[in-house]
């Protein structure tokens, strides 16, 4: 089976976008809530740009608020390819965890 490699950050972003469409700051907040990891905005947007080129995510321009001073939000959502890649990554992680002694199965992690 051909497997598309994704970085840890890409996997985290795909997981965050799995349930709903989000923009930059909300992606960071969701990842922080779930994993406790803080991401830099610069790194996030560069990664999202790369993921969009790979076809993992799709984006659209959103609204602009007064606080943002004219800059529009950009909303990202996971594509079918991104969803498939995330599923494959998840399965691979579970299989990999099964190899670790002491961990009976990775079902609790799915």
């Amino acid at each position: 089976m051909a497997f598309t490699r994704t970085s840890n950050l890409e996997t985290l972003i795909l997981a965050a976008l799995e349930t709903s469409e989000l923009y930059g700051l909300s992606i960071i907040e969701r990842i922080k809530e779930t994993t406790g990891q803080s991401l830099a905005l610069g790194g996030l947007y560069t990664t999202l740009h790369r993921m969009e080129q790979k076809g993992f995510v799709a984006s659209r321009w959103g609204e602009s608020t007064e606080v943002r001073q004219g800059a529009r939000r950009r909303y990202y959502q996971i594509t079918a390819l991104g969803q498939q890649t995330l599923t494959e990554t998840r399965q691979m992680l579970v299989k990999g965890l099964n190899l670790v002694p002491g961990l009976a199965s990775g079902e609790a992690l799915t």
């Binding site: 830099a40 610069g42 943002r68 001073q69 529009r72 890649t85």
Partner: protein, 169 residues
């Protein structure tokens, strides 16, 4: 004798101006008059001088010394602004945004515009949470540097590895 009389009148004029303007230092005078017109002599008044109202935005010296020699006045010390109107936060942020937009010209708009908006939101959140202005500026600069570094690495990898393996190939 004539110089002594002139000096006495000049000193009185300065003291009167200081008292009317309500400055705490002993020798305060209007800096713009003395610094930009060094050869003009202060007017001599008979009786009480007219009331002196400083214009907004005037500069004032904290120390001044009359040498009583060649009618010259030496001024030293720090200058303080008389009355200024600071820019509101929104305008200052706007100016900074313009600078950022200039600095972000090499980055595509699909990255720079949402990044800039998110930075504005982040700064506002930090301000509401009570972070100091210095911390907010530092966070902004850090985020800006991280964006440039990430974008630089991304472009470098693009140049070094032009052929990418995609799914199905």
């Amino acid at each position: 004798m004539r110089y002594e009389e002139e000096h006495r009148l000049r000193e009185k004029w300065f003291l009167d101006q200081r008292n009317q303007a309500g400055f705490p230092t002993n020798h305060s005078c209007r800096h713009s008059d003395l610094f930009y017109q060094p050869f003009s002599t202060p007017p001599l008044f008979i009786g009480s001088p007219p009331p002196f109202i400083p214009p907004p935005g005037s500069y004032w010296t904290s120390q001044m010394r009359d040498t009583s020699r060649m009618s010259s006045i030496l001024m030293s010390g720090t200058m303080s602004m008389g009355s200024t109107t600071p820019l509101p936060d929104s305008e200052r942020d706007g100016l900074r945004n313009d600078r950022f937009q200039f600095l972000l010209y090499c980055i595509p708009k699909s990255i720079s515009e949402p990044w800039l908006g998110d930075i504005c939101e982040m700064r506002e959140t930090m301000r509401l949470e009570g972070y100091s202005q210095r911390a907010i500026i530092w966070a902004t600069i850090s985020q800006f540097c991280l964006l440039l570094i990430h974008w630089g690495i991304y472009r470098a990898l693009d140049v070094l590895m032009p052929f990418k393996k995609t799914k199905g190939e």
